[in-house]
Amino acid sequence: MILAVGVALAAGGHALAQQGAPADEAARRMALYRPFTPPPGERTRADLAWPAPTGLVLPAAIPGIGRGAEPAEIAGWDIAVGGDGRRLPPGRGSVRDGEELYLTHCAACHGDFGEGVDRWPALIGGRGTLNTDQARRTVGSYWQHAPAVFDYVRRAMPYTQPQSLTNDEYYAITAYILHINELLPEDAVVGAAALRAVRMPNQDGFVLEDRPDTPDSACTSNCREGRAVRIEVDSRQFVRPGSHSGFAEPQ
């Protein structure tokens, strides 16, 4: 009964907020929360251009400060791969080579089979959990695009020596990670085209920002309508108030 009252109040507040918001207010909120135009469709997409904004004004250029970047300089740093696989570099690697490299460079944290060690991230599992209250986000269950796995592993891994392997080796490790997620067969050899062709299970799992999504109601008096305050969770079952949830020294 109490829950029902709460829901009714919340719904009322939301309706009021929407009713009171003129069109320009809605546009202003959109500009705040989503200052971009997506391509058509309900799910986010990496394979289409997102329209350029209109009406933006650049200030006058101030010449003579900064210098031109040479192509060779750009090539050294220009490592970002798009979600759709744009700018994947030449090269290829096999699942089999990837297994060996993975055991050498990755397994200490991520586990021999991608199961994760201690608090380091698991790379496998979790499919079917995203709509539960025990969601597990892994390469197989959550990552949107296979090329992003290559991008991330190359730019940031191995953890203590990022960008220290060859592109072929990064392709091989990527292939192995996809293999242990049952997304590539054991005998697979992948380069740019093959990686682009891998369809990730959660590719269509992402939507755009949908806030504001809570009522803008601000009752000021007798808001509980006589209901006593009930404590749902008391942190003293876990910690002493004001004490050490955390530490200033290494633990």
């Binding site: 109490i2 829901v7 400060i65 979600g83 959550y142 108030p241 955390g246």
Partner: protein, 422 residues
């Protein structure tokens, strides 16, 4: 025992007491050393102290050494890819001292010599460019006070209250004056191709963290910053150069920024798919959720600042902030949200900055109270109760939990982090 020994003994007792309760409560009465109290002439008035430049770069009083950033070991696998928390309960006003600004790194703090620093701008531009730090400092400069908050601030409490106090429930928050060159000047220098719609910002640290930024934001208020609170940006905050993305989640404020690439769509990097996406109960995740919505927390009293059993006047004080603009109003309740009074906002009340609120309260002997603050921003957004957030988003979205915080004040003055039924 002579008087010196007695004094030393008293000090030891106090130290022991302080050590035992340091985090739980400050002593109810500051006993002090009687020799330094009226009518005696304190010892510091009877001899000379150190002169100027004993500390050419100053440090705080040794008596403030307990005010520290802290981390939570169980949150992260190590301290390299980890987070520390600002002690909000010990902060005054709205500015966070740079040395206490919370930290969030994904590959540790790089050491970058300013002469070795370069910022590259390329992609869909007319002229790919490289800037030195000196170049950036020659360009038009702005200083702005803005809050910086990790979107995971409060993310440990979607299911319930489990942290010991304000430092850990809300301490992935800070507010600094940032100084640098507006990004739009650099983009004007490079010239944008007609179809440009997004850019990628990349850090130069070991994680090379990358976020896609809509062009409209980049040309609005983004700063390429080299100054923080009047001096160079701290190494933990991106020395020598970081991005400032007013109102937006902390991970977009790329630290040690080395490269900006202009393109015609987002890149869908690891940090905008695997991380920093908001998973909803239906299994779909919201992506590109940039704004940190209106939020507030009472920092006095709070679990680290209990009431020590003394009834009477209490100034309830705290911080409010919104990534959508200025804070317009903060309401405070002492009865779990049944009745609310509007707090005083202390000037300055700035756009996308922490705002200090205060309101007087008479804490009666033996009173049990449920303290809450509720902020409203200039767009009319109202900080929601946790129940409303859970109804909208479930408990698995990790980020952007801006729920009203409840502190339970027990009759003995203990203050407890709780979640209540509203």
């Amino acid at each position: 025992m002579d008087s010196n020994q007695q004094a030393a003994s008293r000090r030891r007792l106090l130290l022991a007491a302080a050590a035992g309760t340091a985090a739980a409560a400050s002593p109810a009465v500051a006993a002090g050393n009687a020799e330094n109290l009226p009518p005696n002439l304190p010892e510091w008035g009877r001899s000379l102290g150190p002169g100027v430049i004993e500390e050419a770069y100053g440090t705080r009083s040794a008596h403030e050494a307990h005010v520290l950033r802290r981390y939570v070991p169980w949150l992260t696998p190590d301290r390299i890819s980890s987070v520390s928390f600002t002690p909000l309960h010990d902060m005054h006003g709205i500015i966070t001292p740079s040395a206490l600004h919370f930290e969030r790194h994904h590959g540790g703090v790089p050491e970058i010599a300013p002469d070795d620093y370069r910022l590259m701008i390329h992609g869909m531009v007319d002229r790919p460019l490289i800037f030195t730090l000196q170049d950036l400092k020659r360009l038009p400069q702005v200083s702005r006070i803005h809050f910086l908050e990790c979107p995971a601030n409060g993310g440990m409490e979607w299911r319930g209250s489990q942290m010991s106090g304000c430092q850990f429930t809300h301490g992935m928050l800070s507010c600094s004056e940032w100084t640098g060159v507006p990004l739009k000047h650099l983009l004007a220098q490079a010239g944008l191709k007609p179809n440009a719609s997004w850019l990628l910002a990349e850090g130069g640290d070991a994680s090379h963290l990358t976020r896609s930024i809509p062009l409209a934001k980049a040309l609005d208020d983004v700063i390429v910053a080299y100054g923080q609170n009047g001096e160079a940006v701290r190494p933990q905050q991106g020395y020598p150069v970081r991005l400032v993305m007013p109102g937006w989640e902390g991970n977009t404020w790329i630290k040690w920024v080395r490269r900006i690439e202009v393109g015609d769509r987002p890149w869908f990097t690891r940090w905008e798919t695997r991380a920093y996406t908001d998973l909803m109960p239906n299994g779909l995740a919201r992506q590109f959720t940039f704004v940190n919505e209106v939020n507030s927390v009472i920092t006095n009293p709070c679990p680290e600042k209990p009431l020590n059993g003394r009834p009477g006047f209490v100034e309830i004080s705290g911080l409010a902030w919104s990534g959508a603009g200025a804070v317009r109003r903060v309401d405070v309740s002492v009865d779990g949200g049944d009745n609310w009074r509007t707090a005083e906002l202390q000037a300055p009340v700035l756009d996308k900055a922490c705002t200090r609120f205060r309101i007087a309260w008479e804490w009666r002997e033996g009173q049990r109270a449920f303290l809450q603050s509720r902020a409203i921003d200039e767009t009319g957004r109202v900080q929601p109760p946790i129940q409303a957030l859970r109804r909208a988003r479930g408990v698995e979205s990790i980020y952007h939990r801006n729920a009203i915080q409840t502190w339970l004040v027990e009759p003995d003055g203990t203050v407890v982090n709780v979640q209540i039924d509203a």
